[in-house]
């Protein structure tokens, strides 16, 4: 990235952290998506590392196990030539009683440039960001936010459909526990899409219409005429808590099969943040269907995370000063 583009980044994306999608403007989102778009093309056409983050250190601090997101951030960092360190905190000193803030202070003393954090508690990443000097990226905090997932979903849609404004997007399934849903609602609304939430009342947040969405408890009706069907993972541990009676009943009424998908627009896209429960929230044949862009989502994930790292790097000491 050139000095000019760093200056541009500071103007259009003035944030030091990416903690939430709430409050992101359409300009900010489009800036990240444009950047990611170029990254995606670069990876496809060339694939060679770029030196944007050469000499920078990124720590992937995952308090909750994750393969896909962690690998995606690692790949993104390495493609920008950063030194990436993965810390799986579930097996570290945290289990010996160290608090989140102790961990933050310890890591801060090592002077990383960017920390990517996943935590099982909503708000934990925000708390950590207040205790460190570097940039922080939220890679998922509880049922709160997962900003890069929403951005990669938006990029996937934009590349497939050419636009996002005016599209109708159905987000289906376990919405109440989904950080993906919350982040997507913010991003899609900011970009002018119409968002529908579909699920049993037990899996909808309270006052869902206040989130700026239409709400359906009948999937056959909710999916009618939509451009995008975004399925969410049903967290199986929720079964015992009696949010839904069984995977069989959930699939019958809220799982995406060809019969329900036929109600959407003929060129509708099927999305899923993964990992999928095949036969629970999505039929295997739908997941592998030509309308499914689930693999593209994974690909766009790396491009989006590169874009976010680039945008935040404009704030790194030494980096931004040069640009100014």
């Amino acid at each position: 990235m050139t000095s000019k583009s760093n200056t541009n980044a500071l103007k259009v994306f003035p944030r030091r952290h990416l903690l939430t999608c709430e409050g992101l403007s359409a300009n900010e989102i489009n800036f990240l998506l444009d950047l990611a778009d170029r990254n995606a093309d670069h990876i496809r056409n060339n694939g060679r590392k770029r030196d944007v983050l050469e000499g920078r250190t990124i720590i992937n601090l995952f308090f909750e196990s994750s393969t896909r997101t962690q690998a995606s951030f690692e790949m993104a960092g390495k493609r920008l030539s950063a030194d990436v360190m993965n810390m799986n905190v579930a097996t570290s000193s945290v289990t010996k009683g160290e608090t989140l803030i102790d961990t933050a202070v310890t890591l801060n003393a090592m002077r990383p440039d960017i920390i990517v954090v996943r935590h099982h508690a909503a708000g934990a990443v925000e708390l950590l960001s207040q205790k460190v000097d570097c940039s922080v990226i939220n890679a998922g905090d509880g049922a709160h936010q997962h900003p890069t997932q929403a951005l990669l979903d938006a990029l996937t849609i934009r590349r497939a459909k050419g636009r996002i404004a005016g599209l109708t997007v159905a987000i289906c399934g376990d919405i109440v526990h989904s950080r993906v849903a919350r982040s997507n609602i913010n991003v899609l609304n900011a970009l002018g899409a119409r968002v529908r939430l579909i699920g049993p009342t037990t899996l909808l947040p309270s006052s869902p219409e206040r989130l700026g969405c239409e709400v359906f408890t009948d999937m056959w009706k909710g999916i009618e005429g939509v451009d995008i069907v975004m399925m969410l993972r049903l967290q199986r541990e929720r079964m015992d808590a009696s949010y839904v009676p069984s995977t069989r009943e959930f699939f019958h009424f809220f799982g995406l099969d060809h019969e329900k998908l036929a109600r959407a627009k003929p060129d509708a896209l099927v999305m899923h943040p993964g990992p999928m429960n095949r036969g629970v929230e999505i039929a295997s044949t739908v997941a592998d269907h030509s309308k499914s862009v689930i693999r593209e989502q994974v690909e766009m994930g790396v491009a989006v995370r590169m874009a976010v790292l680039e945008a935040l790097s404009a704030h790194l000491p030494g980096f931004a000063e040069d640009a100014r």
């Binding site: 808590a241 009696s242 839904v244 009676p245 069989r248 009943e249 019958h252």
Partner: protein, 443 residues
């Protein structure tokens, strides 16, 4: 969602009831007249048929007796499957027919519990092959009635379950109850709940002076009311359709009245036992009077009758609960709860009419159209095109209950040797006569 199927059981020639007193609470009809039945349906009714029978029809002269919609009993415990020695669907249906009951709603407290689609199918098939009356199924709202995991409410409703109950036990886990009400709302499913806090109801009869005198542990009314209050709050939060199965005291009526005043989707029922008996009937530890909820004080009984009369209580049920001699012939505290009641339901209810506490129409309303509306049934009314589920009864005929002559397989009736005034003369289900009083007791 699919409506419960109610097809005429068979086709036949026309039958006309003449010289009847037609009472239909659904249309406020109470007039002398006649009624024509063809192909299982009511095809005509009114005063013009009082003496005129269409040519070729079978004529039944009602001799001025009451012709009303067949009764719908929204709470019937049967022994099938699992406890067939107490009662089967077949024997329960015979008792129902003899009592003027044309639809019974069986509760899920069987063995295995009716908590799966296959069991709803089983009940429907067994009823189709063996029962004289319509049998509807209330499915369990939690797996195994354990109160911890919701059942497949959507699939069970699709299979034909008419409502969802936790049987004789309450769902103590508030979160589960909230989720059941929330989830059931999506399917417009009715949640029917027995309201009794188990931590406050470890006794064996109503708490009070009589219990103290008999040395029996008492169950306070608050055990019922506190659970009902909780449920109403959850209904307010979730908007789920809720029916309190059987309430038993003034305080519970107040809770229901308040909920209805807030326009909440709440209704309630009462058992015929609690309308006609009180705690004093227990006398010297008579276990046939041991019930859940327990029989309360006379003031509560009077309040309940009044609440049926003015519509605060929606539904009267028999709460038919067959228990064999082994479970009843025990010390009071150890004996099983419950009483049979299908065959005596109408006669016992007529006691309230004869005492002047309630009109015949108001009483029948709680036994016909109100349960029909609550459960989404098309029966429970006298109207052209309605299914011909009918009861013909003489409201003045005196008789004495003899438990040995009851059709139920179990004989645990609290009305044994009771003098009744009013009896069923004929019961018709989908145009077919399933019971006819021969003028003498069967032996």
């Amino acid at each position: 969602m699919r409506k419960p199927i109610e097809k005429p059981k068979s086709l036949g020639t026309a039958t006309v009831f003449i010289n009847a007193r037609l009472i239909d609470p659904a249309s406020n009809r109470d007039e002398p007249g006649g009624l024509l039945v063809k192909d299982g349906l009511i095809t005509d009714l009114g005063s013009h048929l009082r003496r005129n029978a269409p040519e070729g029809a079978n004529v039944i002269d009602c001799k001025g007796n009451v012709l009303a919609p067949g009764l719908i009993d929204a709470q019937v415990f049967t022994g099938e499957p699992g406890y067939e020695h107490r009662e089967t669907l077949k024997t329960a249906s015979h008792a129902a027919a003899a009592g003027g009951v044309t639809t019974i709603v069986v509760m899920p407290d069987t063995n295995p519990v009716i908590d799966q689609v296959a069991l709803v199918d089983f009940i429907q098939r067994r009823a189709r092959d063996n029962a004289l009356v319509h049998v509807q199924t209330m499915a369990a709202m939690t797996k195994g009635l354990q109160g911890e995991e919701m059942t497949e409410i959507g699939l069970l409703k699709r299979a034909g379950a008419i409502g969802f109950s936790n049987g004789k036990s309450s769902v103590v886990n508030t979160r589960v109850m909230r989720n059941v009400l929330s989830y059931a709302k999506d399917f417009n499913a009715l949640v029917v709940h027995h309201t009794e806090d188990p931590y406050l109801s470890s006794g064996s009869m109503n708490s009070g002076e009589v219990a103290s005198r008999l040395g029996l542990p008492g169950i306070s009314k608050i055990a019922e009311t506190i659970m009902l209050e909780r449920d109403v709050r959850l209904v307010e939060m979730t908007g789920g359709r809720y029916h309190a199965a059987t309430i038993s005291c003034q305080e519970s009526i107040d809770v229901i009245k308040n909920a209805k005043a807030k326009k909440l989707p709440v209704s309630c029922g009462v058992s015929i036992n609690h309308l006609t008996l009180n705690e004093n009937d227990i006398g010297p530890y008579r276990t046939f009077f041991k019930m859940r909820p327990p029989l309360r004080k006379e003031e509560d009984r009077v309040a309940m009758v009044q609440a049926v009369a003015n519509g605060d209580i929606d539904v009267i049920v028999s709460s038919h609960d067959p228990q064999d001699a082994d479970t009843k012939r025990r010390p009071f505290a150890e004996a099983a709860d419950g009483a049979v009641g299908l065959e005596t339901l109408l006669s016992a209810a007529l006691r309230l009419v004869h005492s002047g506490d309630i009109t015949l129409s108001a009483m029948l309303k709680a036994l016909t159209i109100n349960p029909a509306r609550l459960l989404g049934l098309h029966s429970g009314r006298l109207a052209k095109g309605a299914i011909a589920d009918l009861v013909l009864f003489d409201p003045g005929e005196p008789w004495v209950v003899n438990k040995d002559l009851l059709r139920s397989r179990s004989k645990n009736t609290p009305f044994d040797e009771a003098k009744m005034q009013g009896r069923v003369l004929r019961t018709m289900v989908a145009g077919q006569t399933v019971y006819e009083y021969a003028g003498v007791e069967r032996t």
